[in-house]
């Protein structure tokens, strides 16, 4: 018998890969790296969001500071110096001499803020009602889903318009302009919760019969805790997809309402308000007042939309 040398077991050092690396290697990140559409639209969205966030630092002028305005600068064409003052503006100026580039940056802030806030509101409302409907069941479920069904038969832009109209009527005249942005958020949010509620309810119905929920019940956790801590994390991924698509819809809804003159007030112009103003100069040849805000809105809505489409495919290949 010969002794075979037994190799001493050396402790193998397993380097845990960093979070970033794990993420980079995941299927999700791989799908992202493989899709040029996703990368481009993500880049555009990030660029616009950052531009909106840092608007006070990027914008060459503060369009809401009357001191910096010079009426003589009105209607300056892009890139060419004004005939009276010699000032030059990258994207031109509007009728009151406001720099179009700066108004777009500030307008985008309002548009994005309203869009994000409205989607968050719709999401919170929809998730809560969907969880309750799915978990509690009974007549609560019937009531919630019946309301959802009825609301779904009306186009959401119409619902938002009606809510905005009613809310505007209810607020006292002196607060109307101040409150307009918040009213807008509530109106768009309320018009958009149904999708979230339906998806969350459907997923909850599946999840609540699984063993981990029964285990949680068995150890005596309360129903709200089971809903929020146990079921909610498991139903979130379809919610993320709907949230992205809703964001594009909310941005367009906000722009539409503001364009119609029933949204953001003239003191806080959003992209829709700017397009509304620009439309007035369509026939007199000052195309830039209309063109640049429209292109910005289009880029924003389109890239968020494409990102949402991609997210849907990436998170759920079954849906293809």
């Amino acid at each position: 018998m010969t002794d075979t040398p037994v190799e001493k077991a050396r402790p193998v050092r397993v380097q845990n890969p960093s979070r970033l690396k794990t993420f980079w290697a995941s299927d999700f990140a791989y799908a992202f790296r493989r899709s040029p559409v996703a990368m481009v639209s993500f880049a555009v969205v990030m660029l616009l969001v950052l531009a909106a966030l840092f608007a006070p630092f990027i914008a060459p002028f503060d369009p809401f500071d009357p001191g910096s305005l010079n009426l003589m600068n009105g209607f300056t064409a892009p890139g060419t110096p004004n005939a009276f003052t010699g000032d030059s503006f990258w994207l031109g100026t509007d009728d009151q001499g406001r720099d179009v580039f700066s108004t777009i940056l500030y307008g985008m802030r309002i548009s994005l803020f309203v869009g994000f806030a409205a989607v968050l509101f719709a999401m919170a409302l929809g998730i809560t009602l969907g969880l309750i409907a799915g978990y509690v069941g009974g007549w609560t479920e019937t009531l919630i889903m019946r309301v959802a069904d009825v609301q779904l038969t009306f186009p959401s832009i119409l619902v938002a318009m009606l809510i905005f109209g009613v809310a505007k009527g209810v607020t006292p005249v002196e607060y109307r302009d101040q409150m307009a942005i918040w009213v807008l958020i509530v109106a768009i949010g309320l018009s958009d919760w149904v999708q979230f509620a339906r998806v969350v309810r459907g997923a909850t119905l599946v999840e609540k019969n699984k063993e981990y929920v029964q285990a949680a019940k068995l150890i005596g956790r309360s129903s709200p805790a089971i809903m929020m801590r146990h079921i909610l994390p498991n139903v979130l991924s379809p919610v993320l997809v709907i949230a992205t698509i809703s964001l594009a819809l909310a941005i367009i809804a906000e722009a539409t309402l503001s364009f119609l003159g029933v949204g953001a007030p003239p003191t806080q112009p959003s992209l829709g308000t700017l397009i509304r103003i620009g439309q007035g100069f369509l026939f007199s040849g000052e195309w830039w007042i209309l063109f640049f805000p429209s292109i910005t809105l289009l880029a924003l809505a389109l890239s968020v939309n494409l990102l949402g489409d991609w997210l849907r495919d990436a998170l759920n290949p079954k849906l293809r």
Binding site: T153, P155, M161, V166, G169, F259, L260, G261, S294
Partner: protein, 325 residues
Amino acid sequence: MLAYIIRRVFQSIIVLLVVGLVAFSMFTFVGDPIDNMLGQERTQADIDRLRTQLGLDRPFIVQYWKFLENAVQGNFGISYRQGRPVSAIIAERAPATLELALVSGLFAMILGIGLGVFTAIRKNGIASNLIMTLSLVGVSLPTFLIGILLIYVFSVELDLLPSFGRGETVMIGNWSTGFLTKSGLTALILPAITLGLYQMTLIMRLVRSEMLEVLRQDYIRFARARGLRERAVNFRHALKNTLVPVITVTGLQLGSIIAFAIITETVFQWPGVGLLFINAIQFVDIPVMAAYLMLISVMFVAINLVVDLLYFAIDPRLRIDGRHA
């Protein structure tokens, strides 16, 4: 079947009652109508007298009943802004909206079905790929930007078509129509395309996917094997079987067309009900808002009811499973 219909009608009535409650509470929440009607120099006696005269001292539920009674008879009171009966204003504006909706609905249906069949038959052609890509961009474009774009191209640059208004109209009884004059017809083109474009892409995509589904089936292969002409196979055999979902979706979209008319009418300053509603919101003209709310709800509820019942009539499977709602 009968039980289903009764339950469905009952549901619709409840929905309308709730919408009516919302419309009615707008009146009570937004200011005191007495303040609007009496001037600066009023006495408490005047206020009390008018309050009793208008029935505002009676209980909420009685007032609500009175409101419903009036609403059913088409009486929505007097516009705060124009000082005329709301029903008269709406009757005057309705033809403009209905004509616009009719033309854009036809446009959406004819072009949508045509392009849908085309893109399904030439599945991999360059033209159909181009159409499908364009339709994706079209869905992402907000309606008002499409309108502005059309105005820019056809009114500002080419100077071919009018950019606002209805042109000349002819009165037939109480109905003002733009169908009979040349300027009325040219004024219709741009708004109708703007309004119908979204529905058109929707119908087109639906027809395309249904067609692709049907074209795979055995009876189509059999029809080909029988030596039928390509056109007969595509239109007489395939298209016919895709039309059931198309008709129901188109029916449901009818309501959306009226609702989206608000946007189109604002872009083109089209003197219809939608523009009236937007102006009513801007000036907080409650009677007009309430009337529009009620009208559009009745329309939506009616369309949904009809489409639901239509499904029931078309698809025999639903009749066995009576619990479908």
